[in-house]
């Protein structure tokens, strides 16, 4: 199934053509160059920017896919969450295309796109039967983590399209917190990707030994992971204080402060994830009802999580990937990231992937009824585990 998808949820104007889970084209118009980033760019007037670029981006996506619009089966578009005026541009364009070319229309949640982005494969990929990521073959329930500039959320994926929220941020998204820390260090904004580079510079001494970071920051809600929240406000405060006491900053100090902040921000994320994985037992008992509770002994969970899907801009961070893989090994969970960093930041190809599964379920919308939903939620229920 060939889908043309559009995403204008925030700063990027994006359009893609996908065939099933294969990506035929993936065009992202962005104000900044190709440098990896997960904070967003200056969106002086997001709406105007999107309006100016959307036609060109759509055209290029179709051209690059080597298809014509006639060969496209459906149009998909992000309806939320995102900036209202920005979303409107994409929704209107999708509506217009669907009507003009008599295509079916699919409304997609931006976060679901991020969660399913690891399922994408290149146009020329050979999908073998035993590839665990062959969409429908993925074992459920799985975990989904989105860590981006706009969101940080952990969900249980019962099956594609059915999510329960396990933990989410109560203040800043992870990418946003990293961007802000970079800004406190005078590294511009958004500087999350720069922070990562600076942090890397500290890891080894000249003799190749791992170096001990001279700075300490408190791990957010340490020991209270049962609250199942991500929070960075306290860490930001502590960082602000720490920087104050270390001024004037030298190159070495900036490297160490960057490394320290990133380390603690990730440690917090991993600790909450670990808590949720360990306590999936109680989730199992609650979500499957009373009967299964009786049949369960301790340490004998009624389901096993085999997969963790990770999406969002911070999924491009090498250190975070290392830690998530390590956590995965500990619990025998395979951790899946998008095959290309172009799929971690905001893009439309991931919207096409999510739309493909929705189309299989027959979830289409009437072009006259589609509307943006800036505060769209991924799931209506929060998992009680």
């Amino acid at each position: 199934m060939k889908i043309l998808s559009i995403d204008t949820s925030c700063d990027e104007t994006a359009c893609a053509v996908t065939n099933g889970t294969k990506i035929l084209s993936n065009i992202i118009w962005s104000q900044v160059s190709a440098h990896a980033k997960f904070g967003g760019v200056l969106p002086s007037l997001a709406q105007r920017m999107h309006s100016e670029h959307i036609d060109r981006v759509v055209k290029q996506a179709i051209n690059n896919s080597q298809l014509t619009i006639n060969k496209i089966d459906a149009i998909a578009v992000t309806v939320g969450p995102g900036l209202s005026i920005a979303l409107g541009v994409g929704v209107n364009k999708a509506k217009e295309l669907a009507k003009k070319h008599h295509k079916k229309l699919i409304a997609v949640n931006h976060l679901e796109g991020h969660i399913l982005s690891p399922l994408a494969s290149p146009a020329n990929a050979q999908l073998t039967m035993n590839n665990p990521l062959r969409g429908n073959n993925l074992q459920f329930p799985a975990l989904g983590l989105v860590a981006s500039g706009g969101n940080t959320i952990l969900v249980k994926i019962n099956k594609v399209g059915s999510h329960e929220t396990l933990a989410q941020t109560t203040d800043d998204a992870l990418g946003e917190a990293l961007d802000k820390a970079a800004r406190m260090l005078g590294l511009g904004y958004p500087g999350g990707a720069i922070l990562e580079k600076m942090a890397r510079s500290t890891r080894l001494t000249r003799s190749g030994q791992a170096r001990r970071n001279p700075y300490i920051l408190p791990i957010p809600i340490v020991g209270q992971e049962e609250r199942k929240i991500f929070t960075y406000s306290g860490l930001k405060t502590a960082m602000n204080r720490l920087i104050e006491t270390k001024k004037p900053l030298t190159k070495e100090k900036v490297y160490n402060l960057a490394a320290c902040f990133q380390d603690v921000a990730f440690t917090h994320l991993i600790r909450v994830l670990r808590y949720c994985i360990i306590h999936k037992q109680s989730l199992a008992s609650q979500s499957t009802g009373k009967q299964s509770l009786a049949s369960q002994g301790p340490g004998n969970s009624s389901f096993v999580i085999h997969n963790l899907l990770v999406g969002g801009g911070v999924a491009a961070n090498v250190e975070l990937r290392r830690r998530l893989r390590k956590l995965g090994r500990e619990f025998r969970i395979s951790v899946h990231f998008p095959y290309s960093n172009k799929l971690t930041g905001d893009n439309a190809a991931m919207i096409g992937i999510a739309a493909y599964f929705k189309a299989q379920r027959g979830e289409f919308v009437d072009p006259d009824k589609i509307d943006r939903d800036p505060r769209a939620k991924l799931s209506h229920s929060e998992a009680k585990w």
Binding site: G40, L42, L83, G150, Y189, P218, R241, K251
Partner: protein, 365 residues
Amino acid sequence: MKVIKDNLRAINEAVLILKKGGLVVFPCETVYGIACDCLNPKAVEKLNQYKERPFGKPYAIMCSSRKMAKEYVNLNETAKNLYKTFLPGPVTVVSTGLHKVAMGIESETGTLGVRIPDYKFMRDLIKKFGHSIVATSANASYQKRPYKINDILDNLSEKQKLLIDLAIDAGELPHNEPSTVIDTTLDEPTILRQGEIKLKGKNEVTSRSEENTQNIGKELWQKYERYKDKRAIVFALQGEMGAGKTIFTKGLARAMGITELVTSPTFALENEYRTGKEKLFHIDVWRLEKSDGLKALGFEDLIKNKSVVAIEWAERVADEIRKFDDEVVVVWVKIVFGKRPARNASSIADAGGDNERLISWGVEK
């Protein structure tokens, strides 16, 4: 194309070629780069041809000193600090350009990246040349990072090879990463334009925790709630990053009876929370380029509809808010960090334990 060793003679030869509008492949502390005269439009066109990149994708320039850089860009405080800390070195600092360079080097929005190489040979070369050069990595687009001359040549078409006039060979370079690009233009001090915010009377309290800050949000709501549905109420929040603007808004929302989770609007620019009939608009203008960005977010309609609005970094859009002074209750709230702890904050307790904030509020004079 001529290949020569990196000796003093090479500097003279490279300068001659640059002056004639030629392309020179050069070594530095990151990777092999390719350069041309930044003032010569024909040379820049040649570089575009070589890199096979469309006109309009910006380049960075390379200078021999900060003094030279100031001829091409306007350095703000953030940029000055970065120059002091990281340059010369593998960092490209993006500032507002002075439009001295040839077309197509600065970005669409007029910004320009500058780098000072931590490689004496190149600084000497640029100094001798007398002005800045446009420099980019010497690999053809999408090819591997060039650490040897052959890394470049092996991946070039014959046509591309002909475009290079001179290559300076310094052998295999240490495998360092390309330079980090830091954009400082969002840190422009727009606040100065907007004039100082002077409040009638002075209300000030100390907050010692996030809970305290939330409670102050709650109290301020109770104080101004009487204007609800009669006029729009704007809580104009000021405070450094991490001061607690979002935390304050959480308290405000809770007092209004909103149960939805209040999170930072920095990325989305605007969040809207709704519980039953209660509605709160939560805006962050940190990323807006100009104060008229607030208009684009539909601020006027919010005022007309007598909405309750919390704006973070409000001092950046003070002008825009003031326009509605007659019809709106604007409560200015400023959160500043308490005095620095006397001891050196090196332990966990010190670094995290000191949560003191001074919160002051009032309406403008």
